[in-house]
């Protein structure tokens, strides 16, 4: 039996799916460490630096600790909903990685409606938050769930609208086409013609990933953990993993759509099938900016958050859509 059989359909998918799952879980673990180190250096202190050389084995220690912790659940919690919620939060964050192109030809599922797939699956994340808060049957969780629902559902609108410019420019909903259309150097990347959309998608992505300044559902200062206050042990670890995975996912999509995916900034630096290195570097940069913002800014209050989403981001998106359409009509040679 030659190894070619592994390239056939069921095996190829299963192996790549396993690889993606492995990647996502490790990404979540590594990001916990990165978050702690980045936050530490911003706060003028060292982060964890005892476990392993320079603290690099800290995620392993954390995961080991969480495996051995008891999963406590409130006595009158709705157990099915309570336990399914972390799964409902993790699966969307893991599933969308299947459509992201890492390198030329390296995409697990080359859907021609990949963008719609991304939008549809990310919406399920909001459902997970509501399940977690409602299933815990406690006042703080309920407040966190309501806030989470309001925030995530309303910020999906600017998230989606900001993608439409790219869809118009590319003429296709497939992420592979989007990346291929940005070939030739960083001046072809979509963040230049679509700069307002780039910013809007970034902000809406922060809101979808529930990061500061949009972390009110989890508002640590008032409702101490919000929708995830009743979780502990592995269930909590899964929620945290899904948060970091979704942060990584939003960064990856951001890079794919606006920053050229695996395209090198200058053609001379093209690495062929090792272009996933470029993809990784750009995604890491965006993740770093997410963390930088988290440890610098305070958080917005609920009504201010909603005002900003509906009254600022959505009009900006709509206006820029018209500008893009106009530019495509008037300058057909460029676009």
């Amino acid at each position: 039996m030659s190894l070619d059989i592994l390239n056939q359909e069921p095996f190829r998918f299963l192996i790549s799916f396993g690889a993606i799952l492995f990647l996502v879980l490790n990404l979540a673990a590594v990001l916990t460490m990165a978050e702690r180190k980045v936050s530490a250096y911003i706060q003028l202190r060292y982060g964890p630096n005892r476990v392993g050389p320079r603290g690099l084995l800290q995620p392993a220690a954390d995961v080991f600790k969480l495996f051995t912790k008891e999963n406590v659940s409130p006595s009158r919690a709705d157990l099915w909903v309570f336990l399914l919620a972390p799964i409902a939060m993790f699966i969307p964050a893991a599933a969308v990685w299947l459509v992201i192109p890492f390198a030329p030809g390296a995409v697990v599922a080359d859907l021609n409606i990949a963008i719609v797939f991304f939008i549809a699956i990310t919406s399920i994340g909001a459902l997970g938050v509501i399940m977690a808060g409602y299933g815990s049957r406690s006042n703080f969780s309920l407040l966190g769930a309501l806030r989470g629902a309001a925030q995530m559902i309303s910020y999906e609108v600017p998230l989606i609208l900001s993608l439409l410019g790219i869809v118009m420019l590319t003429g296709s909903l497939s992420l592979v086409d989007v990346v291929n259309a940005q070939a030739g150097g960083f001046w072809h990347w979509y963040f230049l013609p679509q700069l307002p959309m780039f910013v809007v998608f970034y902000i809406a992505g922060l809101a979808e990933a529930r990061r500061v300044p949009f972390d009110l559902p989890e508002g640590e200062s008032e409702i101490s953990g919000g929708f995830m206050v009743e979780y502990s042990g592995m269930t909590w670890a899964l929620i945290q993993a899904s948060e970091f995975a979704s942060m990584g996912l939003i960064s990856a999509i951001h890079v794919t759509l606006f920053l050229g995916g695996w395209q090198p900034p200058i053609d001379a630096l093209d690495l062929g099938s090792f272009n996933w290195i470029w993809f990784g570097l750009k995604t890491a940069l965006i993740i770093f900016t997410f963390q930088w913002i988290r440890w610098t800014m305070p958080r917005l209050r609920m009504d201010q958050l909603m005002d900003f989403g509906w009254k600022v981001l959505v009009p900006v998106c709509l206006i820029w859509l018209f500008v893009t359409a106009g530019a495509m009509l008037l300058l057909p040679s460029v676009f």
């Binding site: 009110l216 508002g219 409702i223 800014m297 209050r301 609920m302 201010q304």
Partner: protein
């Protein structure tokens, strides 16, 4: 009689127990229900052990009832059983962020009973440490305000300043936090050699650091302004009616400061401004606190330039046994007006010591001002009062 009434009232409230979601059997005549919820006493971000019984209508607070007493340590009762000098460590622990003012007030009250003359160097050192203690308390207050808004970094910058001041206090008094330094009749011991120069260096450094490390990063931040401007707005009448003192009162525009209006100790010789702000909201209280830090820096420089020589403890005899009467000591702590009323019956221990701590009174703000605000606004309003749980609970 009052106890029975209270119990009857609590039982009649029946099914509206806290924490239960509205079920079909609990229905209001309008069909709407407010959510009764507890914030605290265990909470990652309360300024201590405070239980707030909140009634929420969605995210709006309808009623806010602070329940205090979780850190009540019966300081007044203990003070009745200790001799006069031994009460000073008790006062240390009342407001643990600004201990030096607590000691100062008590010692002034006993010196009032004894009609004692304090040597000028002791007065100057007391004022110097009082102002350093004020800086030590205001900068972390600003850090806590921002921590509760969700910015996790300024608190660490603030505690870096506090650590530096605590190092100086450790060299002077021997302790980082519970100083037991201001004693009846003066201070415990003179400043160590080289301490005035070290303080001078630190103060100049702080003056340079205040703007880039704190003010520039905080004041222009859009989110900070959106969260604090207009939140907790009070009028001057309301503030005086509620009995507020200190930064919560001065942020509405009433210019009342014990150091200027009822001067004590070395403050009679110092020139400083009383910082007020007209707006009356949380942002105004932030500006008042930063302004007070700058004024404290100015006062410390004045004291260090003219530090008198001499002894640091008056000779009050071996035993402190004041004659019968009452003594009053009024000091400006970082949180407001702090008064100690000592009643003496001629024996070795006080007959009654009453600590009028500013936070107990300032907490009335929560009952009056919070209803009508959103739930996330409670935290900035606590940042306006800046209470410390030892101070409201004694």
């Amino acid at each position: 009689m009052l106890r029975e009434e209270r119990r009857a009232r609590e039982q009649n409230r029946g099914g509206r127990a806290s924490g239960r979601l509205a079920g079909p059997d609990v229905r209001d005549e309008f069909g709407l229900e407010t959510l009764e919820m507890n914030m605290g006493p265990q909470h990652p971000a309360m300024h201590g052990l405070l239980r707030l019984i909140l009634e929420l209508d969605g995210e709006t607070v309808v009623r806010c009832d602070p329940v205090m007493g979780y850190l009540h340590r019966s300081k007044e009762k203990i003070s009745e059983n200790r001799m006069y000098p031994s009460v000073v460590p008790i006062t240390d622990r009342i407001d643990y962020m600004n201990n030096i003012a607590m000691e100062y007030g008590y010692c002034m009250a006993v010196e009032d009973l004894l009609d004692a003359e304090i040597p000028p160097r002791a007065d100057a050192i007391r004022a110097l440490l009082n102002e350093l203690g004020r800086i030590m308390s205001h900068i972390p207050s600003i850090g806590f305000l921002l921590l509760e808004l969700g910015a996790f970094t300024p608190i660490l910058y603030a505690f870096r300043e506090r650590e530096r001041i605590q190092n100086m206090f450790e060299a002077i008094t021997g302790a980082r936090m519970m100083f037991h330094y201001i004693r009846i009749g003066g201070v415990k011991a003179d400043l160590p050699e080289g301490m005035p120069e070290q303080m001078w260096e630190y103060i100049e450094g702080l003056e340079k650091r205040l703007k880039p490390d704190f003010m520039d990063l905080i004041e222009g931040n859009e989110i900070f302004i959106a969260r604090t401007r207009g939140v907790g707005k009070m009028t001057q009448e309301k503030a005086i009616e509620m009995g507020l003192t200190g930064p919560p009162l001065r942020c509405t525009g009433v210019s009342y400061d014990v150091r200027r209006d009822y001067p004590y100790g070395w403050y009679k010789n110092l020139a400083f401004d009383v910082i007020t702000d007209e707006a009356g909201d949380v942002e105004a209280s932030y500006r008042v606190r930063i302004g007070e830090v700058q004024q404290s820096i100015r006062m410390i420089k004045q004291i260090l330039e003219n530090l008198p020589e001499g002894e640091v403890m008056a000779d009050l005899g071996r035993r402190i046994r004041p004659s019968e009467g009452d003594g009053f000591g009024r000091a400006e702590s970082a949180r407001g007006e702090y008064v100690v009323h000592v009643v003496s019956d001629g024996s070795d221990t006080p007959y009654r010591v009453r600590y009028r701590t500013p936070c107990t009174v300032n907490m009335q703000l929560l009952k009056e001002i919070v209803p009508g605000h959103y739930l996330p606004d409670i935290m900035p309003i606590m940042g306006l009062i800046d209470p410390v749980s030892g101070s409201w609970d004694k």
